[in-house]
């Protein structure tokens, strides 16, 4: 528990630093000792998982924090063995079904059934239901999501589901309608800054507000990242100075350089280089959606206001293609080429206008 992120994580709803209203609502929700299925969504680093754990603690007491990792083996109907890790306490079970790839449907069916079908023995001292926490639900296949539908209703008596995801757009309607959706938005800049300074105070350090702001900006209000960056700053240099450079994640730097390469020259050769860089990003396990998003953000910074709508439109178009297809590289490259074409035409038109 030595990283600040882990060390200073609030473990009860009362101790949460921001979105206090929501925390109160959650507390009220579980007041009666029961709650509906939940769908917690929001961007990464907003504190979804923290909130869920606080909720569980509110419900079951400190026992939920005694965790163990279980390696489960599930045999698919095709006799294929799927191995998956689950994190469990006596009261809940956390699983990331998308670890099983295409076989996630089997995981959902088998795992939840086994949990849900076993009744709690001592219902007087415990709740009569267990909680199954499914993470990264938006990466589940459609099959698995459909498998979830009936299970959610059938085993309502013995189990509650908490689904955790970044965006609900990939969760099918039937599931959304069966859950109480809770959105956890990113903390505001001020909230991030205050969290950072609180943590630093607890560590006995003095954090200049300028640096806090800078960290907040660089992290994109992702609190996890912000805390890590702050700690990295601490390792880099202490006492802090207001204008010290904040370490960034390498892939973001690399992505920015790629975007610059695209803007600086538009030719098939450059496209070939960009392709190599895109491949490099993909091999570092950066998801293609994130690459696309990062590229668009960087490119939009670099291009003229007139182009922005068109570029954004193109990005949306190719992102959609990306979701429909299998090979990310084609779509990323297609977007790059399209941007190059648009940008080049724009620049040439501009030059022509200047000539005459």
């Amino acid at each position: 528990m030595s990283l600040w992120v882990d060390k200073y994580r609030p473990n009860s709803l009362a101790k949460l630093d921001y979105h206090k209203e929501q925390a109160t609502q959650l507390k009220n929700l579980v007041q009666c000792g029961d709650f509906p299925h939940l769908l917690v969504y929001g961007p990464s680093g907003a504190g979804k998982k923290t909130r869920i754990m606080c909720l569980l603690r509110e419900l079951y007491g400190a026992g939920v924090e005694k965790l163990r990792i279980e390696h489960q083996t599930i045999v698919a109907p095709s006799k294929k063995k799927i191995e998956i890790n689950t994190i469990a306490s006596n009261y809940h079970l956390e699983v990331n079904p998308s670890d099983a790839g295409n076989q996630d449907r089997v995981v959902i069916q088998e795992l939840i059934k086994t949990v849900a079908q076993s009744q709690q023995i001592q219902s007087s001292t415990q709740r009569e239901f267990k909680v199954v926490l499914l993470t990264e639900v938006d990466r589940l296949t459609k099959d698995a999501q459909h498998a979830l539908r009936r299970t959610m209703e059938k085993y309502m008596a013995t189990c509650r589901l908490i689904l955790c995801c970044n965006s609900t757009s990939k969760v099918i309607g039937p599931i959304r309608s069966r859950c109480l959706a809770i959105r956890v938005p990113l903390p505001s800049t001020e909230e991030v800054c205050s969290v950072l300074s609180t943590v630093c105070k607890k560590e006995g350090l003095l954090l200049p507000p300028e640096l806090a702001k800078q960290i907040c900006e660089k992290s994109g209000r992702n609190l996890r990242k912000a805390l890590l960056m702050c700690e990295a700053c601490r390792v880099q240099q202490y006492p802090f100075s207001a204008d010290q450079d904040v370490p960034e994640t390498d892939w973001e730097v690399y992505l920015r350089e790629t975007a610059n390469a695209i803007v600086s020259q538009q030719s098939p050769q450059r496209l070939l280089e960009v392709r190599a860089r895109l491949y490099e990003l993909l091999t570092h396990c950066i998801p293609p959606e994130i690459i696309m998003k990062g590229l668009v953000t960087e490119l939009l910074n670099n291009c003229d206001g007139h182009l922005k709508t068109e570029v954004a439109h193109m990005a949306a178009y190719y992102e959609h293609r990306l979701q429909l297809g299998n090979k990310a590289i084609y779509h990323l490259e297609a977007f790059t080429a399209k941007f190059m074409a648009i940008y080049k035409k724009f620049m040439e038109d501009g030059l022509d206008a200047m000539m005459f």
Partner: protein
Amino acid sequence: MDEYDELFEIEDNFDEQFADELEVLAEIEAPKAKRQKQDPGVVKRLFTSSEIKTSGGLSWTDDITPPSSPEHYEPSNTVRSVPAMLDISGFATIPETPRRPDIETRASLRVLKRPPVEGDYISVTDSSGTRVYLHQKEETGPKIADSRIVPNSQGSLGLLAVPISVLREQEAEKVSENGDTCFNEDGEDDPEDAEGRSTRLWVDRFSPRHYTELLSDDFTNRCLLKWLKLWDTVVFGRERKSRSARSDRHALNQNSSKPNQPNQNANRFKSKIEVTEELLEAELDQYKRPKFKVAMLSGPPGLGKTTLAHVIAKHAGYNVVEINASDDRSAEVFQKRIDTATQMKSVLGANERPNCLIIDEIDGAPAAAINILLATLNRKDGPSGEGETAKKKKKKESILQRPIICICNDLYVPALRPLRQQAFLLAFPQTQPSRLTQRLAEISLRQGMKADTGTLMSLCEKTDNDIRSCINTLQFLHSRGHTQLNAKTIQSVSVGQKDQNKGLFHLWQEIFQLPRTKRKRVGEGYEEAPGSGGGAQRFQHILHLASSSGEYEKVAQGLHDNYLSMRVRDPNLHGVCEALEWLSFSDRLNKVILHGQNFTMMKYLPFLSVSFHFLFAHTNVPRISYPHSQHEVSTRILSSRNTLTTMLNDIPACIRMRISQLSLTLDILTLLLDIICPKLRPVNPQLFSSREKEQMHELIDTMLAYNLSYRQDRTPEGQYTYVLEPRVEELVKFPGLPPRRQLTYQAKQTISREMEQEKMRRAEQLLMQRNPVQKEKESAASKPTRNHQQRLENIVKQTTVETRPEVDFFGRAVAPKPQRPQPSSDSGEKCAVLSMGTAVGNSDVWFRFNEGMSNAVRRNVYIRELL
């Protein structure tokens, strides 16, 4: 020469009798020019005489031998030294004919050991140096001087079974009434041929019936025939003629009069032909079989492989048994059929000939069937005389004694690999367009179609010299009522294209390269319009190629990898955008196909290649590299995933639940690596200040929490480094970015050591937690008796004499004798030792002096006290 061939055919048992003389036959084929020059000496005269004298009739064939020539003396092949008589000499060595004694006597009349007394003679020396003398024939004019050639009643010479004039008349008749006789000499076939003429395929009707009509490459034909002849020893029981390699090569030289055959005079390196020849010259094995039991013909479809095999097998005197893909080739059935074909022989019916097994289309056979074939080949003759069971077995599994010819299109099918090593491989070269055209011209002439050579040439080109396809196309056109063929018709006909896989590189090349401007044909009207007409044609061509390749995925990868390096002017990147649009379209299509099992969509995949062709085709020869990138990327992604998984697996649960793989890569990992590289003073950790110690402690805590550790590693240069384990450093490192700050070797070493200690400490703690009671008991028990105390007591015990109850020999207790009073000094000493021992044992520190050693002090020390 046609007359001659036909002449030979008349002899019914010709095939068998003539089987020995394949070289001669080969010559019939090849050096026409030479022979025509040489022959007249004898032949012309014969003809003239018979022409004059004949009045037709077959009644006199009885006493007439096949034309016996003066060279009859020598059954060996050295007759080549007498070129004038060459082809007729073929008849001389007919074995086992009923007329043989007759010939012998006649021969002995003619071949003399000494110069004849009367008449002219010719001396002939053979290769072994024996000289013989031959009568020189008198002019065989109207008056016949030689007594041998007895004119029959008609006055003809009677060298032939049927007078030549009769033959000629018959031929003329046949030709006039039945256009295709030339290719269909078998008399029996004629009637059925005539009636089924309209229904039978031309391919069958005009298929070669005889060796000399084969269109395939001479060398291939000859090799196969030679190989088949190697079986004669075991099948027919004939002795193989031993020939010196030299004469053989000589023969080959004579035969290879065609210009495209490689020169034989390059002595330094063996050409492929020579190697093949040598294979054929190789010794027979212990059962007198050739070294290779199987011949394997390979080549693209439509070159006449099956026809060749059939013709040659028939020619060599075998009865053909064919197994092809239409038969059931499962293991048991295949075994049965092989055994039937190779070990049995038909006793009824006309063809009491040994079988020759032809396995057609073997590349489609299952591997099990091929294994059975191999087992059959490698069967050893079981050791005889091993009792009854062995005999039975042996009967069941006798060795292979019949030739097997396998035919395949693709020699490199995986199932064929084991067979390839044991087979006599013959690759079929392309049919020569000139010969094919000639044959096509003959056919069309017979069928009353008018087609000039150019047209036929273009047909050949269109079908890639596929004989079958050419003839089928011709027939198709004929049946459609085209009697006048021209190039345009041929071009417009879409039949005759093969669905043939040409390899990925070829496909990519075709896609990225514009077709060269068509060679202008001489005397031909058609010219391709470079723009409009070509477009549709190119479209069809590429579409055809792409759809026949089938590997759409790989093709798309190749296109994607290579299209950007094509030299196409595309300043506005419109082409590139278009191409990528197509790629993403095909990607989505693929997803639909694979996920929905919607295979009807497959038909849209090859259009990708077409669009790339129109976007990027260039006249230059493209340099195409094999697409590795996607495979590489996928393996690298897999390995990084594995690294992440190993890291995640051992992270303790309380932290594990807060991080996912995604957040690890996106947010945590880079910063984490920064965090675990604090600035440490390069001093002994014992000398750290309390703040530094705390920092160190935190660092180690973090590393343990995130399952990271330093492992000492040796670089290839021999230096030692500490690397992070699992290797997540590579996961966050991007090429071209400034390297992250690294700890020094010493720092890493310190951290590594501290980590080990921390791990031990934790393990001890865990142990304490898990069984605290046991630990306490242990410590409680060990408190009063210290380690050294125990030893000391032992020593003391050793020194003190134990008082045991005395026993006698049988172990019974002996009544203690009254003890005599002993000197007190003894007991006093004992007491002193004892008291000293306890005194020493009671103190906390105990010395034992070991000379030259410094570890004299022993004390119980716990790790936690030292750390």
